[in-house]
């Protein structure tokens, strides 16, 4: 059964992309900027492909602006949500442009798919841990090209050979004569210089910035309260609204008694929509009080009886029948029955909410011919398109001011919150900030999907895998979010971590069946496909090792001969974790390896299971090979972060439905890991000069099976569903 619960919110030009598009050279264009500065724009490969087909000028992707006043401004196509991209992306430009990081200024990019498309997504969006991967070549090239032109301009002015000049810290020097000129003084002249082709990029040994632990540019404002998030926008005259949406997805408002709400001091207006009611007030205190005073009678609609159990049953049934073949190597069907030992297991994972600390919010000023929006979004063009469609105006009549994001994790790749805010704002005179309560945020999220997995494997006489089969069912987010990338019944996001394993498995077969949960919206959630697949795959691999009566690390190492980068991180993590050393009773170590987001990672978790069943993760050791490291401190921070996010999911995370209603509401029923539960985390980075891999999400998916495998080591209980059921781990009396 496939139910498409939402129409696509797709905007503008959305096309699938491919990894090999990245290998194409980037093109640069230079021209005079307004004010006589040097404007250098670069087009990323994706835009180039379209431009070549049209045979016209290349559309630029990002802008580097050097003004006669000395400003070097980088318009950032990626948004900062804590992953450090506002520091690491400027490092790439500053490295080749011979600037100090402090000399680069940043601007949020406006919505423009033509200019600011993410080459790995095909959409102007920040997600899939790919900002550095997408920017690595083109931004360094932009910096190098600009530097070459600035040096050429200086050399021409001095009438000397450009080779005798060099750039450093925003100036060009002519060493023999000691002359120097600032970039600002050269900017106007540089626009007339020929655009160099095939500029050589620095050798890694010459990097000044890349690979050094740069201080983040966004930190100072985040420690003194001056950082401005979407929820902090305050256009003059703004009113504050909060809302109640149908508690059952797809339900409707039957009737509203708003007399008591209107009587609340500070409440200005009640806005009734088809499936929601909003209270508009002078401040959120009055809006919330008004909301509590509303008496709303809902028509729950067709999903009033929906339960998580029913959805799970549907998924389980779907795995009884063949699905779309996502990957098939060798002949698993033949190898399995003749194997020396056979194993079967089923796994399943729950819906998860994103629960970023900044609740959903969006500020809108809707006029008849223009809509202005203040929001923090990972996908600004989606917001613009959703606002235009909802308001009934043209795309160019919608202005979107992007802001810092108080936690994205995929939630802010969706435009449902903006559309909702516009719906409300259409009824309000002047700007209105729509702020969701935490309860609305959790109960009206778009969730990480549930999945059900049916696995089987055969071992040879030595205990090594002779066949591996996995058939799983669940939602495809890509099929809704980026339909052209859903092909032949599957997509790369949903299957990442289930296919293309680092292991050398001779007979390997994976199928996926798309089953959309009725009424329940699903969305990308930090680490996406791997958030589910790595748990399943690495747990089952642990089962194979146990069936073979082999050490989980040694068993995996034996399967990694063909992927030395994976083998190296596993060996390193095991060594640093003290793998094999004795632990107290009911304590254990578990391991996982992962190849996802173009990075290799191994984790060893050490857990302690109390007699009552409570699990405490004490220590996590992570080894990572993410290719060239741009900012090692950010790499460590992202892995620490991902691990905490993953432990929350492993130990606590689940959204359940009863009578069509989400049962969790706030941080008491949707628990988040806290300080007193946080493990020590060690991160070891393998140094090399491969292309950079992504890291914002990798830590999250890799920790989950490390924890459950450690629980197995501590208790002998194999956990095949999440979150961890501590009742099942109680020591028998």
């Amino acid at each position: 059964m496939i139910i498409d619960h939402r129409t696509s919110e797709a905007s503008g030009r959305i096309q699938p992309t491919s990894a090999n598009a990245l290998t194409r050279r980037s093109f640069l264009q230079a021209g005079a900027a307004a004010g006589g500065g040097l404007l250098l724009s670069l087009s990323l490969p994706f835009a180039v492909r379209g431009a070549e087909a049209a045979g016209t000028t290349f559309a630029p992707n990002a802008f580097l602006r050097i003004t006669p006043e000395g400003q070097v401004v980088l318009t950032m196509p990626y948004v900062e949500m804590g992953q450090g991209t506002y520091t690491s992306i400027p490092m790439l430009i500053a490295e080749e442009l011979e600037l100090e990081l402090s000399q680069v200024q940043l601007e949020h990019a406006p919505p423009n798919e033509e200019l600011y498309v993410n080459p790995l997504l095909g959409v102007q969006a920040t997600g899939n841990s790919n900002a550095i991967r997408g920017a690595w070549q083109p931004l360094r090239q932009a910096g190098a090209t600009a530097r070459t032109m600035l040096v050429a301009a200086a050399a021409k002015g001095w009438n000397v050979d450009a080779a005798s000049c060099r750039a450093r810290s925003g100036e060009v020097f002519h060493e023999p004569t000691g002359r120097r000129l600032k970039y600002a003084e050269l900017a106007a002249h540089a626009t007339g210089m020929p655009i160099p082709v095939n500029v050589a990029l620095k050798e890694p040994k010459d990097f000044r910035l890349i690979g050094t632990p740069a201080k983040r540019l966004d930190t100072p404002a985040k420690v003194n309260g001056t950082a401005v998030y979407g929820i902090d926008a305050r256009p003059p005259g703004v009113k504050i609204a909060t809302l109640a949406q149908s508690p059952v997805f797809g339900g409707r408002v039957k009737s509203v008694d708003d007399a008591a709400a209107k009587a609340v001091n500070g409440v200005r207006q009640i806005v009734r929509l088809n499936d929601a009611v909003a209270v508009v007030a002078d401040h959120m205190g009055a809006a919330k009080k008004g909301l509590e005073a509303l008496v709303i009678d809902w028509d729950d609609g067709q999903y009033e009886g929906l339960s998580t159990e029913a959805i799970l049953g549907e998924l389980e049934e779907a795995t009884l029948y063949p699905g779309a073949v996502a990957q098939s190597v060798g002949d698993a069907d033949s190898a399995l029955p003749s194997a020396h030992t056979q194993l079967e297991a089923t796994y399943h994972v729950p819906f998860l909410a994103h629960a970023p600390m900044e609740p959903m919010n969006c500020t809108v000023h809707a006029r008849s011919d223009a809509v202005e929006i203040w929001v923090g979004t990972q996908a600004i063009t989606r917001v613009q398109a959703a606002a235009a469609a909802t308001a009934g105006v043209l795309l160019e009549q919608v202005t979107v001011h992007n802001h810092l994001i108080g936690g994205g994790f995929g939630r802010r790749l969706e435009a449902d919150g903006a559309a909702r805010a516009v719906e409300i704002a259409k009824h309000v005179d002047g700007p209105v900030k729509v702020v969701w309560t935490r309860e609305e945020d959790i109960q009206h999220d778009m969730y990480r999907p549930m999945f059900f997995d049916r696995l089987s494997a055969g071992l040879d006489a030595k205990g090594m895998p002779a066949a591996w089969k996995n058939r799983f069912a669940g939602s495809s987010i890509i099929a809704r979010w980026l339909p052209p990338a859903f092909n032949n019944g599957f997509d790369h996001d949903t299957t990442e971590g289930a296919i293309d394993l680092a292991y050398d498995l001779p007979n390997f077969h994976v199928e996926f069946t798309r089953v959309e949960p009725p009424g329940i919206p699903t969305a990308f959630w930090r680490s996406v496909g791997p958030s589910h697949n790595v748990f399943v795959t690495e747990s089952f691999m642990d089962e194979l090792a146990a069936a073979a009566k082999q050490d989980p690390v040694a068993y995996r190492l034996a399967l990694l001969e063909k992927t030395p980068r994976a083998k190296a991180v596993l060996a390193l993590a095991a060594e640093k974790a003290g793998w094999g050393q004795t632990l107290p009773e009911r304590s254990g170590r578990g391991v996982s390896i992962q190849h996802a987001f173009a990075s290799y990672m191994a984790q060893v978790a050490e857990v302690e299971v109390a007699k009552g069943g409570t699990v405490r993760v004490k220590r996590v050791v992570c080894a990572v090979d993410c290719g060239t490291v741009v900012n090692p401190d950010t790499v460590k921070a992202q892995i620490q972060s991902g691990i905490m996010f993953g432990i929350t999911a492993a130990l606590y995370g689940q959204i359940t439905l009863k009578n069509g209603r989400v049962e969790q509401a706030n941080f008491d029923s949707y628990q988040i890991l806290r300080m007193d539960e946080a493990p020590e985390v060690e991160v070891h980075i393998v140094q090399n000069s491969e292309s950079p891999g992504g890291l914002g999400e990798a830590g999250t998916s890799a920790i989950v099976p490390a924890v459950t495998n450690a629980i197995y080591a501590a208790t002998g209980k194999r956990l095949r569903q999440l979150p961890v059921d501590s009742a099942a781990l109680r020591e028998p009396q």
Binding site: N224, R234, E358
Partner: protein
């Protein structure tokens, strides 16, 4: 009703119901947006401010309960010795990621080292476990508190 409160040393008279949480007076009435909304139920600590030096969750603190107590927010905490040490340590250790919860974390941590200048790990757990960080910066928060205490 109208209430007069003292925020970071300045008096403000506001016209809101007495049961209005302090959080919304700060953010929406006075425009001081450094203090954040996370849960509305004292479950996450994002809204932490000081009331006469004690950390409180402003999202459940009615304005009529404040009286003449001195309110201090993230905007002014750097003027205190403990606050300045904590902010410096936060910068040195690079604690924030998305940063949204960090105002509350810094207010809780400042109150901690003001009352216990050399906190143990247990003291840190007790003082900081009411503050959720969804980015999971706990390892660095602990390190930064220890660094501030040693400063």
């Amino acid at each position: 009703m109208s209430a007069t409160i003292s925020v970071n040393g300045a008096l403000h008279t506001v016209d809101v119901d007495g049961d209005t949480p302090l959080l919304w007076v700060l953010r929406d009435v006075l425009g001081m947006t450094g203090t954040k909304f996370g849960c509305g139920a004292a479950l996450c600590g994002a809204c932490t401010v000081h009331l006469d030096g004690e950390p409180v969750r402003s999202c459940i603190t009615p304005i009529d309960s404040v009286g003449v107590s001195e309110i201090m927010t993230i905007e002014a905490i750097g003027a205190t010795e403990a606050g300045a040490k904590i902010q410096k340590a936060w910068l040195d250790v690079e604690v924030p990621q998305c940063g949204y919860c960090q105002s509350g974390q810094i207010m809780s941590a400042s109150a901690l080292i003001a009352s216990i200048p050399h906190p143990t790990d247990g003291d840190i757990d007790d003082a900081m476990s009411g503050n959720i960080c969804r980015c999971g910066t706990y390892v660095r928060i602990r390190e930064a508190i220890k660094q501030a205490a040693a400063a």
